[in-house]
Amino acid sequence: MGTLELVLLTIATAATPLLLAAMGELVVERAGVLNLGVEGMMIMGAVSGFGAAYATGSPWLGLLAAIIVGALFSLLFAFLTLTLVTNQVATGLALTLLGLGLSGMIGERFVGLPGVKMRVLDIPVLSDLPLVGRLLFGQDPIFYISIFVVFGVSWFLFRTRAGLTLRAVGDSHKSAHALGIKVIAIRYAAVMFGGACAGMAGGYLSLVYVPQWVENMSAGRGWIALALVVFASWRPWRVLAGAYLFGGISIMQLHIQAVRLEDLAFLPRPVFWVAEVVKSIPAQFLSSLPYLATVVVLVLISRNRRLTMMNTPASLGQPFVPDR
């Protein structure tokens, strides 16, 4: 395998958990609910995924457990914010705190145990194709699921009646309610889908990324996923691009640090000069790029009101109490 292929594979690994968690949150926010508990649901998915895989020896059961626990955990958020109409921001933050603490407690017995790693796909001939072989046909199953989720969500939101209904609920819950749409039920479903996706992202961390359990192993990826949804202005394909951009930046900055300029001497001059400039940028600055990019995008989209109105779910974060 060439270096380029290896780099691309590493980027895919870094991007997949962001992509999954952000796709889930996108659906939640499209339904008009702001769930800041992504980090908490993710870490709960990670600990239960590890635990189930360790107990049964099957990474698939681990993945299933991660998805189910993520969804159940989000149900708590749904009950509080949708049925009891608590403040969504505060409840989401509480969910994150609860998840971080609870996972640490549950996971205490898993610390230091060897994990079960999900195998990568291996198709004869296809997986061995030069350059694209491993990338397209030789990755872990969750990678393919994440791409499928992008197709699925995009198709669902913009090509189906149910998707239209969900977006209507997110844009104006009052009108949707007046039309006889079950706003609360749809939001419950959306929140649980978000929880399942975040749980799967967590499972990816403890089953593929680093097959082990350590407290706080999500290390802020849930927050990046939240930023990513805004960065992508609530469009599925832009989430895909954003996740790979964010993942790419975080991997490339490591490569830029490790590479010796002398080893790049073979590059054409202009490219070499670019490399020289990039190498002189401090690594700390590069690490902050995903957040910086989100701020820039927020500034850009807020300049164009029409564009903002078109994509932002109009009832995002607003509580809904049906008047009887």
């Binding site: 270096t3 290896l6 780099v7 590493t10 690994t13 870094a14 958990p17 980090e39 933050l93 994150t96 705190l97 971080l100 603490g101 640490g104 996971g107 205490e108 610390v111 230091g112 060897p114 961390l205 990324y209 680093v210 097959p211 082990q212 350590v214 407290e215 706080n216 192993m217 290390a219 802020g220 990826r221 927050w223 975080s250 991997i251 490591l254 490569h255 640090q257 490790a258 590479v259 010796r260 401090p282 690594a283 700390q284 690490s287």
Partner: protein
């Protein structure tokens, strides 16, 4: 946002910890930068705390309270102040970034003893600093790396460009160059002490760029697992990580804090506690090497010989002639670096393949 959350969680945890009574018991409190389940830095500090408690008569005599994952910087101050108010007799702050917070809070609570790990500021008489010469172990690792590496390039996953870490990189390079003068080290700064995902990415990056030995100055076991997957050798960090790479770990530098914590808490009990600044190494038993594994006998012998020389203090890793990275002379032949210079080290020695972030 994340910081705020941790601070909230931290203060909540202190409230709970503070509820317990502390009459005839001595209360020793610990602030950790990561979770105690990191199997690295914070894990070892906590092991030291537990050992201390056992040595000094168990739970009847010593009460332990601790806070995990406390962010460095201003947030630590609140956590420390809560601890000081909750009846702690001695507080250990176990990361470099707690330095200013420790000194600030110590000035407000003259009756509480503060011990800050890896720092150098002791602004009031109730602040002591303690550290270990981990670089002694890194020198031994360098010797092993140079003997084991086929390509002559090792990968180094670093956390933050503080003297402690720079010293480690330099010691590793010097150890390696004592075997192979052309040995090179590639350094990647992860800018975190603990993020298994990012550390794994850093390890993959280094391996993709052709290194065949990995060493780390970050706290998780992820790099050693990646090394295992890719079939190369690696060194553990802070604790014995052999479980995570039975065929991968060459050795590991074990931080052995138990004896020191026992000594200091006992001093508080006896009323003999005094401000000190200690920098213990292999000689004092503060730095211990995990068993040498996965290497041929001659490499093992060389490692053991180096370790013995450092342990009986006949050899100091920072002994001249040593050149700085830019080629200028740092230490003359036979000259030994002063501790003060080492503790503020902010430059590389010749042979490090990296530009030190300033």
């Amino acid at each position: 946002m994340k910081k705020m959350l941790f601070a909230l969680a931290a203060s909540a945890a202190v409230l709970i910890a503070g509820g317990a009574s502390a009459q005839d018991k001595t209360k020793a409190c610990f602030i950790y930068v990561g979770p105690i389940g990191d199997f690295g830095w914070s894990y070892q500090h906590h092991q030291g705390a537990l050992e201390m408690q056992k040595n000094l008569g168990g739970e009847e005599k010593v009460e332990i309270a601790y806070l995990e994952s406390v962010p460095e910087g201003a947030d630590a101050e609140r956590a420390l102040e809560r601890f000081a108010r909750s009846g702690c007799n001695i507080i250990f702050t176990t990361s470099f970034g707690y330095m200013d917070a420790t000194n600030k809070v110590a000035a407000k609570f003259p009756d509480v003893k503060f011990e800050h790990a890896t720092g150098y500021k002791r602004e009031t008489p109730n602040v002591a600093t303690y550290n270990s010469k981990f670089h002694e172990g890194r020198y031994v690792q360098g010797v092993i790396a140079a003997k084991m590496s086929k390509g002559g390039v090792a990968g180094y996953i670093a956390s933050f460009p503080i003297p402690e870490v720079v010293m480690g990189i330099n010691a590793f390079v010097l150890g390696a160059q004592s075997v192979n003068p052309d040995f090179k080290v590639k350094v990647v700064w992860a800018n975190t002490w603990f993020d298994p995902g990012k550390e794994a990415d850093a390890a993959k990056t280094l391996i993709d760029q052709g290194v065949d030995i990995i060493t780390q100055h970050t706290d998780s076991t992820a790099p050693i697992q990646v090394a295992h997957e890719r079939g190369i050798k690696a060194f553990g960090q802070a604790s014995d990580m052999i479980k995570f790479g039975p065929e991968t770990q060459l050795t590991s530098i074990i931080d052995n804090w138990g004896p020191y914590y026992t000594e200091r808490v006992k001093a508080v009990m006896d009323g003999t506690w005094k401000q000190i600044d200690i920098w213990g190494g292999m000689h004092d038993g503060h730095v211990v090497m995990a068993p040498y594994t996965n290497m041929p006998d001659d490499v093992k012998a060389a490692a053991e010989e180096t370790e013995a020389k450092i342990k009986n203090q006949t050899f100091n890793p920072f002994t001249g002639p040593i050149k700085k990275q830019d080629g200028s002379e740092w230490l003359k032949d036979g000259e030994v670096a002063e501790d003060g210079v080492l503790l503020g080290l902010n430059f590389y020695v010749a042979g490090v393949d990296d530009k030190l972030p300033q």
